[in-house]
């Protein structure tokens, strides 16, 4: 095969089959014959289904790449619903001229991450488009998981009530800053790496050891503040967050202070917000902290009865302010 993807390899014929065989099928462990759709047999369980597209720029960044992101993102979407992620479909839209060795690296990352997360990539699609018709590579992943019906309340938060506590599994903002740094067009360099990780084993440990998990959501684009506001709206209560307990790494802090960013608005790819029934929070915290992906977990706040559904921050110096949803992407400021 040539070093660069050509339009012919997307046409569905012999060259497409060759691409799939040589690049995807072996690495994803897919058995012959490959069919258009994958039939999955499970009995007596609720299936959870999700989908996401990944268009990150740049494709490779400290801590990961678009492929790892795609698997982790979909695994996490399933895991935070309380589901056990099982199967993934992966579609690729590739720009003509894309280097083959990069595609292989990305695919290998996906295979590695899928193995780590215990999921199987069972079906997919490949398209190649003319140069300029897509920005190098777009990946769409869909995922299916199995959900114990006793955990159905977790994604809607319908059992959340005032007094429940909020926990996060580590520092915020690392993914956004790692990607920004890798874009290299804002003249700074940072040691920060993306927190991109599959959280399903961490979450499963928590679910197996505590019956008081009331809500979970992964904290991605829009940051912590977005998830908090979404939660407040869904449950019809207010939330108080204690700034001093929300972990932020120093290099992220330094960059935010210098450019005028709010770390609570920054994207993450390995962080989950968990709402725990009052009284259980210390136990859940300890379960999280015993795992490498939860070492720096903290109890950051509490649900409060507030009909205005406000998210209020107790600032690190004892003041109060409201955390509003971000308006668009943050822009670096001098003022």
């Amino acid at each position: 095969m040539k070093d660069f993807i050509s339009l012919n390899q997307g046409s569905g014929g012999k060259l497409t089959h060759e691409l799939i065989d040589r690049v995807f099928a072996g690495r994803f462990g897919m058995a012959e014959p490959l069919t258009d759709s994958a039939i999955l047999k499970e009995s007596g369980f609720t299936r959870v289904f999700t989908t996401d597209s990944y268009v990150v720029d740049p494709l490779f960044f400290p801590g990961g790449n678009i492929g790892k992101l795609a698997i982790c993102g979909t695994v996490n979407d399933l895991a935070v619903s309380g589901a056990d992620p099982r199967y993934i479909a992966a579609s690729f839209i590739i720009e003509e001229g894309f280097p083959l060795h990069e595609l292989v690296l990305i695919t290998e990352s996906m295979a590695d991450e899928a193995l780590k997360a215990g999921v199987k990539i069972v079906t997919g699609d490949t398209k190649v488009v003319h140069k300029g018709k897509c920005d190098k590579l777009f990946i769409t992943t869909s995922g299916i998981g199995i959900l114990n019906p006793d955990l159905e309340h977790i994604s809607t938060g319908k059992r959340v009530k005032p007094g429940d506590k909020l926990i996060i599994n580590g520092p915020v903002g690392n993914h956004a800053i790692a990607v920004l740094g890798a874009r290299n067009n804002l003249n700074f360099s940072t040691p920060v790496t993306s927190d991109c990780a599959s959280l399903n084993y961490l979450i499963s440990k928590v679910l197996q050891n505590s019956g008081e998990i009331r809500f979970m959501r992964d904290i991605t684009r829009g940051g912590l503040t977005t998830v908090l506001n979404e939660l407040a709206k869904m449950i019809g209560f207010g939330i108080i967050i204690n700034e001093v307990y929300v972990p932020v790494d120093d290099p992220v802090k330094g960059l935010c202070e210098m450019l005028g960013f709010d770390p609570f608005y920054l994207a993450n790819e390995g962080k989950v917000l968990i709402v725990v029934g009052a009284g259980e929070e210390t136990r859940v915290l300890n379960i999280l902290r015993s795992d490498p992906l939860g070492l720096y977990s903290e109890i950051i706040g509490e649900i409060v009865p507030d009909k205005k559904e406000l998210v209020v921050l107790n600032t690190s110096v004892g003041g109060k302010r409201i955390l509003d949803m971000p308006v668009g992407d943050q822009l670096p400021r001098i003022c």
């Binding site: 003249n187 202070e257 110096v317 109060k320 302010r321 668009g328 822009l331 001098i334 003022c335």
Partner: protein, 361 residues
């Protein structure tokens, strides 16, 4: 982080708040004229720590807010020219012009790039010799010296495709204009970073001519509360003067190298401030020696700008005459995600910060 954390000490902040509570004997109104202070006061939740008889109001300290619609319109017009690369600090991207914004034009295909420094713009100009690279210079005395350095470097390195569209302004004339408006004030929280350049002496005229106190203030919560305490004491003792709270960065004389650069490259002119109209000798324009870098000399534009929506009272707010609560559009039609005027767009804008503060004092 060093020299930051020590000034965010919660115990100290609470004690200062307590001391302020014990020192107030009447109502006080203090104005800050620096968007950085507006933002810091909001971010740390300072008003929730102060007694009700202290009123903090924001003056025209947000360079974005005081930049007229015409500046944005000019920038947009230049950006649409094929050969132009327009560079700007991120602050300006969402500010509404008469009909559009730089962000919208960028989405429509104009080559508009966000930069962190004038020196980056020189790089861009060097790498794109066939383009006209225009830098939007906004900011007060803190930022203008950096632009002056950039201009001098452009000359030294013979970069002929670099140009400036200047909206740089200076603070003291605006402060004088505010006082002459008759705004009810007891003192100024003076801009700490402007003063690192100019020295605190630029504020001497305020107590001398108008008997109003000035404290040159840093940007951490301890700085702000300490300054408020110092201003309260000045009012209580009827002893108006200029004091420096931010002495780890500010001196009476300031940064003479930066001042020399400013006077070498720029000269004052009568600039238009949104909400104020023309304030004499309040803007900075390139001196004749550096005229060749002024894009308006190279390619003059004639544009008709519409000022803000008739109901928008951004101007009155900037002058400290009214508050966002007095505005019929505030939080009804004008929101951070759908701003009508600049005071709502800018992170430092009064309306933007009031919006974030709604429900909490």
């Amino acid at each position: 982080m060093k020299y930051i954390d020590e000034f965010r000490n919660k115990d100290l902040v609470m004690n200062l708040a307590d001391l302020i509570n014990k020192t107030v004997t009447r109502d006080y109104t203090f104005m800050e004229v620096c968007g950085g202070h507006t933002a810091a006061i909001h971010r740390f939740g300072i008003p929730s720590l102060l007694p009700d008889n202290i009123r903090l109001i924001s003056g025209p300290g947000c360079p974005v807010c005081v930049t007229g619609t015409d500046f944005i319109d000019k920038a947009i017009t230049y950006s649409k020219m094929n050969e132009v690369i327009l560079t700007t600090f991120g602050d300006l991207l969402r500010v509404p012009g008469s009909a559009s914004s730089l962000e919208k034009e960028k989405a429509a295909g104009a080559d508009i790039r966000v930069v962190l420094s004038g020196l980056e713009v020189l790089e861009i100009a060097r790498m794109n010799p066939e383009s006209l690279v225009i830098f939007l210079g906004i900011g007060f005395e803190t930022t203008a010296p950096g632009t002056a350095v950039t201009i001098k470097q452009a000359e030294k390195q013979n970069i002929n495709n670099f140009f400036l569209l200047s909206a740089h302004k200076i603070m003291p004339p605006a402060m004088e204009a505010i006082i002459k408006e008759g705004v009810n004030l007891d003192g100024f929280i003076c801009p700490g970073h402007v003063a690192t350049i100019t020295g605190s002496s630029i504020f001497d005229f305020i107590p001398e001519r108008f008997n109003l106190g000035c404290v040159v203030t840093g940007f951490e919560p301890v700085d702000i509360l300490q300054s408020i305490l110092m201003l309260i004491r000045q009012v209580n003792q009827n002893n108006s003067k200029v004091e420096i709270e931010y002495n780890r960065a500010v001196t009476v004389k300031g940064n003479s190298i930066a001042q020399r650069l400013l006077s070498e490259v720029f000269e004052p002119y009568d600039a238009t401030w949104r909400g104020f109209g023309v304030i004499p000798l309040s803007g900075l324009t390139l001196k004749k020696d550096f005229e060749k870098f002024n894009i308006e000399k190279k390619m003059p534009l004639k544009i008709n700008s519409q000022e803000d929506n008739d109901l928008c009272i951004c101007g009155k707010i900037l002058r400290g005459l009214e508050t966002p609560a007095d505005c019929p559009l505030f939080a009804e039609i004008c929101f951070p995600e759908n701003p009508v005027g600049a005071c709502m767009v800018s992170n430092e804008g009064t309306c933007n910060n009031w919006y974030k503060f709604r429900f909490i004092k």
